[in-house]
Each structure stands twice: as C-alpha cells, then as structure tokens.
C-alpha cells in the first residue's frame, strides 16, 4: 500500500508546477469529491456540479458526503480512506485540517497552477491576501487549497436591548472595559435578584472563545503552533476575565458548550460572539434590529478567522479536468450562492461587500473588513486533540470546578505532552 501510494505520488508529481489547460468538452471520466455536509455546502456543491456537467456531460462526479460532527473525526475519516487506497480527487476541508495533510506530499500545489490561469488569477485578486497568507502558512508556505468561504468572530448585539438600557451602540473598536460596562448595564434582574436578561454569553466553543486570547495578544499555542503558550501571563489574564464575567460580575449565564444563538434569539442575552452563521436564524425569527461590531480588545484590536477550501490530490487521473471542477465550485457563481445562504462569508470581496449579503446586520462591512487584520485559528496537525484538551480545561475552570493556577498547570502539561508527540 505504502509503495503503491508513493509510486502514484511520484508518477503524478510531474503535474505539480505544470499549467493545467481546460480539457475538451467530450472528455470522459469520473471525479471523486470528499465533501463535508451542511445545508449551504450541499446546495452550492450540487449546483456547481450541474454547471460543470453542462460543460462536461460525459464526466461523472461522485460526491462522498461526510457529516461533520467534530473536525477530528472528519479528518480521520479522510485519512482512513486514503490509507485504504481509495483516494478522492478533491478534498474539502477548513483550515482546521490543512496542516494535517500539508507534509504528506498528497496534494497538488496550486500556486503555479493559478499563476498560469487567468480566470483563477482574477478570482484570487478579489480575495483578501491575509486570508490566503493564513492558508499558505498553515501548509508550510504553499497554497494547496483554493478558498471557498470563511468566517470570523464578531459581536452580535440586540439594538432594542441597548435602547432599553439607554446606552449607545458599541463603537467598531472598543476595549474590554467598555464591553464590561455595557454588559453590566444590559444585565437585568427581577425583584428577587434573579437574572432575567444577561449582557453576554461566554462562547462555549473553541473558535468563538479564541478572540478573547488574541485580543490580549496571546493564544493557547506559540506562533508556529508547535508549543504550548499557556504559561503566558496574558493567557491567564484572559481566562480570569472570562471567569469574572460569569461568576464575579454575573453578566453571563453559567458556562455551557454552545454558541449562544438560541439564547440570543430567545432574547435572554444581549450580546454573543459568532461568525456570519447566526444570520439566517435571526432573519427566520424576525430579529432584525441587530448590529455587529468587532470583538472588544485589551492589547490588540484583532479577531480570529477560519477558512475552507478545496484541494486536488495527486492521485487524480485528470488534474486538468479536476481543476475545472474546483474552479466551478469556488468561482463567481458559487460565491454568489454562498452569499445567498448567509451562513458564511464568501471568499470574494466583491460579493461579500455588496447586495443583500451586506445589507444585514448593521455594520456588515465589518465581516470582510476584519479580513485584513484577522488571525487564523491555531490549527496544528493535531488540531482536534488540541481543541479537545483546551476546551476540557476551559470548561473546568469556567464552571469553577478548579482554581486558575491548577488549571494553567494541568492544561500546560497536557498540551505540552500532546505537542511533543506531533513534533
């Protein structure tokens, strides 16, 4: 098996760096696409395949739809399939899974392919360079995945609640202190002292909580994503601040895994941290008086981003044809469809900053506007393991089951052990 894959990789490595030309319309063949499922991805992919088949009617596209429970399981599923010798032509994954395949010489580097394809170059020119840099950095400096859509984390706020509390809407750039003051004014209690409305929901998920560290100029891993950074005093400062929001200031409900969207829709909380994905739910529930602003900062005015993309494996029998499908699934029309679903931000600036997509919520320009300074989510090769370790300890501390210094010590020890294994 090992020899077979190596031989296939060597035989096909000739394609790397070569220009890919669009094959004739009567080309025959089969392309296998390994794709995660969510309502927007399914719709966009199926429409893209239809357009592709209108150009190449004799090409069969087989989609292997994979449910996305946790990234670790999704990435493991792909690895298992590759190990069994059934290597798909196209693999769709987000930045969380980029570095796990980067060093494997399994994918065609797309930089040179794009450089010789005018339509792809045109698409790329419309994408924020910082997003592309984040993608390349995750895979050792080369671009192996062509971007489809992305998400960041901003603060969604209920304008009616701000009006009722008699406070101004948050500025686009605001500090932790200003955020806390607003959250305190937005928290309401009844006569018995029982909270009836919380100011904020502390994100119970890795991507959502990440900006609370980045805005304090720290992160769980050191730059390069190879070593634990938990001992950084700024990391502790962020953790204590989040714990205080729940237990000292009592402006947030008890920590729970989740995004806080149901609580925001039910008007139990005034602010949540999320990407673009709550927008369809807000519109469905008629919650239209909503604005977004940047995450509050302590030392660094930034947020986090994650981006999805399509990669072409070297096992593909017809790279030219596969590249045409990738372009169809990531191009202008597909991007418009991603915008219509409103679940994520299209990679193309021209689509993400115009029309209906930019009309709601208030300050929607911040979504693409943050792309310039946003930092990629820490995504080492053992991403899912790091995520699991990190969230487990965060949960223990934010539910007051363990003291901060013990949590820091335990988390650092476990993370260091896990990172040593990958090194």
């Amino acid at each position: 098996m090992k020899k077979l894959l190596t031989a296939a990789a060597l035989a096909l490595s000739a394609y790397a760096g070569a220009a890919l030309a669009a094959p004739p319309a009567d080309t025959t063949g089969t392309i296998k696409l390994y794709q995660r499922t969510n309502p927007s991805i399914v719709a966009v992919t199926e429409a893209g395949i239809k357009r592709f088949n209108a150009r190449y009617p004799n090409v069969k596209v087989e989609v292997q739809w994979k449910p996305l429970g946790e990234w670790g399981e999704y990435i493991s599923g792909f690895m298992n399939q590759v190990a069994s010798g059934d290597v798909p032509d196209i693999y769709e994954v987000a930045i969380e899974g980029f570095s796990s395949v980067a060093s494997r010489n399994l994918f065609l580097p797309l930089d040179e392919v794009i450089a010789r394809d005018s339509s792809a170059k045109e698409l790329l020119a419309d994408i924020e360079p910082n997003l592309l840099k984040g993608m390349s950095d995750a895979t050792g400096g080369k671009l192996y995945f062509f971007p489809t859509n992305w998400n960041n984390v901003v603060v969604f706020y209920n304008k009616d609640m701000f009006d009722a509390a008699g406070i101004a809407y948050p500025k686009k750039s605001w500090t932790w202190t200003e955020f806390l003051e607003a959250a305190q004014k937005l928290t309401k209690r009844d006569a018995s002292g029982q909270v009836t409305q919380y100011g904020y929901f502390v994100p119970g998920y890795n991507f959502g909580i990440a900006p609370w560290f980045l805005t304090n100029d720290t992160d769980k891993l050191k730059s390069g994503w190879k070593e634990s950074n938990i001992r950084d005093p700024k990391f502790k400062e962020s953790m204590v601040f989040l714990n205080d929001l729940i237990h000292k200031h009592k402006i947030a409900p008890n920590f729970a895994r989740g995004t806080g969207e149901p609580q925001f829709v039910a008007k139990q909380v005034a602010m949540i941290s999320a990407g673009h994905w709550p927008v369809p739910l807000l519109l469905q529930n008629g919650l239209k008086n909503v604005g977004v602003t940047m995450m509050p900062y302590q030392r660094k005015d930034v947020t986090v981003f994650g981006v999805g993309g399509l990669g072409i494996t070297k096992a593909t029998k017809n790279p030219d044809l596969t590249w045409e499908l990738v372009k169809e699934l990531t191009g202008q029309v597909a991007q418009v469809q991603y915008a219509e679903t409103k679940r994520s931000i299209p990679a193309l600036r021209s689509i993400a900053t115009t029309g209906e997509f930019a009309a709601f919520p208030d300050n929607s320009d911040l979504f693409y506007g943050s792309a310039k300074s946003a930092l990629p989510i820490a995504a080492p090769p053992n991403f899912s393991q790091v995520e699991e370790i990190f969230m487990r300890h965060v949960e223990l501390y934010l539910t007051n089951n363990v003291a901060i210094d013990k949590m820091i010590g335990d988390l650092d020890a476990e993370l260091t052990r896990a990172m040593r294994r990958v090194q």
Partner: protein, 293 residues
Amino acid sequence: MTRAAWREQIAAMAFLTPALICFLAFLVAPLIATAVFCLMEIDRFTFGMTYVGLDNFRYVFEDARFWKTFLNTFQFIAMAVVGNVGLGLLLAGLLDRALPSALRYFLRLAYFLPVLIATAFVSYIWKFLFDFDLGAINYYIRLLGLPPVGWLTDTRIAMASVVIMDVWKHVGFFMLILLAALQDVPRELREAAQVDGAGPVRIFVSVTIPCIAPALLFCVAYATIGGLQVYDSMRILTNGGPGDATRSVVMYMFSEAFGAGELALGAVSAFTLLIVIAVIVAAQMWISRRWIR
C-alpha cells in the same frame, strides 16, 4: 477410527465451519490486529507501521487521564449496578404481591417503557432537564427557595446525574428479570419458613435471595459489562465533562483513536480494557460456581 466415525467427524466439522469462519474473522482477527497495533507506530495515510515495542503502553500508562477514566468507569459501574439491580429488586418486590391485575400491568409497562427508548433520545431529554439555567429540575429547586444545582457542571455531582439517567432508563429491564425470578420462588418454602417462625427479613435473606441468586448474578454481570462499555449516554449528556469527571474508558479510547488520530494509543486502551473485562468475567464465573447452586 471407523469409516462411519470419520463421516461423523467430517459432518460435524462441516456444520461448525461457517460459525468458525465468523468467529475467526470477526473476533480472533481483530483481537490479533489490536494486539499488533499496540506495538506499532501507525502512519494514518499510508498505514505503514513501525515497531516501537512497549512505547505505546508506556505513553498511555503514564497518562493520569487514562487511569482517571478507568476510575470513572468503575465508579459508574458501582453506582449503576447498585442503582439498577437494587431498585429493580425493590420494584420487583413491590409488584410481586396481590395487586389488581390492571394496576400491575400498567406499572410493569410504565417501568419498562424507558428501556424501549433510544439512549441518545433519552440523553437529550435529560440534558434539558439537568440544564443549570433553563432545566426543569433546577426550576422546581428554585421554586423551593433552594440554590440551583450544577447537575452537569459540578464535578462532584455530574457522575451521579449520569447514573440517575442510566437507572431511570434501565431499571425496568432488571425489574422484569427479577420479577420473573421472584414469581418462580416456591411458595411452600416461604410457608415452611413462616411455620418455623422466620420473619419477613429472614425469609427474604434465607429463602428468597438463594432462590433468585442466578437471576441476581445475571443482572449484576449484565449491568457490569454494560457499565464497562458505557459511551453514548456520557457522550451526549456531558461529553465526558466537566473536565474528565464523567469520561469513561471507552470515551478515552474513541477520542485517542478517532479524535486525536492515534490508532495505536486507542488500541492500547482497548487491549487493557479487554484484559480487565476478562478478569471481571472470570471472577464472576468463579463466584457463580462457588456460591450458586
């Protein structure tokens, strides 16, 4: 050996072969594969293996979390076996008396109904009931003027919450088994004991328990093996949390093998669990031979 005896031998082998093939393919082969994986470093992409001896065992055994999950599993077993078998016996005892038949049928059905519902579904319902802020249980606790309980967020209580749900779901099964056993206890034995002056407690200890001992042992063994394999309820209800407070060894095994992508470490956990289960089953068989007639 005569020709007829040979024929009989061949016929017997022919009948045994399909079962033997299944046994080898689905039990022995995976067992050997797991044992081999334990000693290898496995590349997930090429499935290439490098012999590393006992390194994987060393790595897993040095992990305090591994032993913590074992401890959790046994804590769960102890609580769940006592809860399921104890409460099952109590309910069976209450139903094993002169009740109107309609009421008896209704109660039997009511206790057994949760057994028929999928664990995942039950777990989601209990997750809602146990919720700190919006849960129905804490709602009534607050109405009584008491502080809300962190059913799923307090490390000291979370395991008990999982056990409460497990007992609610499974107690009906054990109740039915034990009720059938109780109804098989000869009435003459109890009457004879009564004539000899034994009270209800003495009759229960000296007559009823020995008579239903095989059923009791089956229930304990069944609940123990089920407890050793507990996964879905913990995964949905608490996802092993808070921290590792409710993480079972099977959850640890799954997250190592399929979450972290460390197949060999998952194999080590599985192999260790297999040995522990084998020891427990052997102990139970010895007890049953020694004490149960």
